[in-house]
């Protein structure tokens, strides 16, 4: 019998699964608390976006968008190093955080854990850049805060089998 995700849609759309994945990644990788805050307009200037694609039974992506200062703060926490400017280490760190959140999120949904693969992360730096999928089957779009910094995480499910 082929696997179907249709019965798992409530779990995919459950915002608590994404919150738990983000909080776990920040607690274990960055050693800090992270909480969801009310969505507000994101200042898109000088932002960094990390994308990890989902393939297999679900096609879509986990996307993180962060300002450059927030990404630098994340990198400093994750590496324990003083980071002062956007460089390859910052891009690498944001990609790996996205990778871990994507993996943690899919592991919370049994059908996805077994039948969905992750791409390697891609990181894009630029202004006024965002990813849109029309029309997504399901989308979670949350804003989070750690220390005094904020960032966005989006789970987009473009197709379910």
């Amino acid at each position: 019998m082929s696997a179907s995700l249709r019965d798992s849609i409530p779990q995919i759309a459950n915002p608590g699964n994404l919150d738990a994945s983000v909080q776990e990644a920040f607690a274990l990788m960055l050693g800090c608390e992270c909480r969801r805050i009310a969505a507000s307009r994101f200042n898109a200037e000088d932002s960094l976006i990390a994308v990890v694609g989902f393939g297999g039974i679900l096609s879509g992506a986990c996307v993180i968008r962060s300002s450059v200062p927030s990404a630098i703060r994340m990198t400093a926490l994750i590496t324990g190093m003083e980071i002062t400017a956007l460089d390859a280490t910052v891009q690498d760190a944001l990609g790996e955080i996205c990778n871990v959140i994507a993996g943690s999120w899919k592991s919370r949904i049994p059908e996805l854990a077994a039948h969905c693969a992750l791409s390697v992360p891609a990181v894009i730096a630029g202004n006024e850049y965002w990813i849109r999928v029309h029309p997504p089957e399901s989308k979670l779009h949350h804003m989070y805060q750690f220390d005094e910094s904020t960032f966005e995480v989006m789970i987009v499910c473009e197709g379910l089998r």
Partner: protein, 127 residues
């Protein structure tokens, strides 16, 4: 515990540093750490440098961790060296594939110091 030489493979240099730091926090004495960004680089290093422990990501470009394991065992390179996969992918099927390919352990990212202690320290202490 004796000092060991470790090979850490991950396409993320940040994650390689996290793994090294966590090994040290877990009490593993590292004599030297070799780093590779994919399976090709890992095999190339192992041709020239013996190690006591291999920690490998699964999802890497060029040559992934499972293919690395198959080639490692197929070439009989480092036959006594324990290999532990550290990855975001953690389904039963993926763990089964890794064990069949010759992995001694499997740790899901993000991991804790305690998980490293429990699953890796016994492997390097036994050597």
């Amino acid at each position: 515990m004796k000092q060991i030489r470790a090979l850490i493979m991950d396409d993320s240099s940040v994650m390689r540093k996290i793994v090294e730091r966590t090994l040290r926090q877990a009490g593993v004495e590292l004599e030297c750490v070799l780093e590779a960004a994919n399976g090709h680089e890992g095999l190339d290093l192992l041709e020239r440098h013996p190690v006591d422990l291999i920690l490998s990501d699964v999802n890497m470009p060029s040559m992934d961790g499972l293919e690395f394991l198959r080639q490692l065992r197929g070439r009989n390179l480092a036959p006594q060296t324990p290999v532990v996969m550290i990855t975001t992918e953690g389904s039963e099927e993926q763990v089964r594939q890794a064990v069949e390919a010759g992995a001694q352990g499997y740790i899901r990212k993000p991991f804790t110091v305690e998980q490293i202690k429990q699953r890796i320290v016994p492997l390097v202490s036994a050597g």
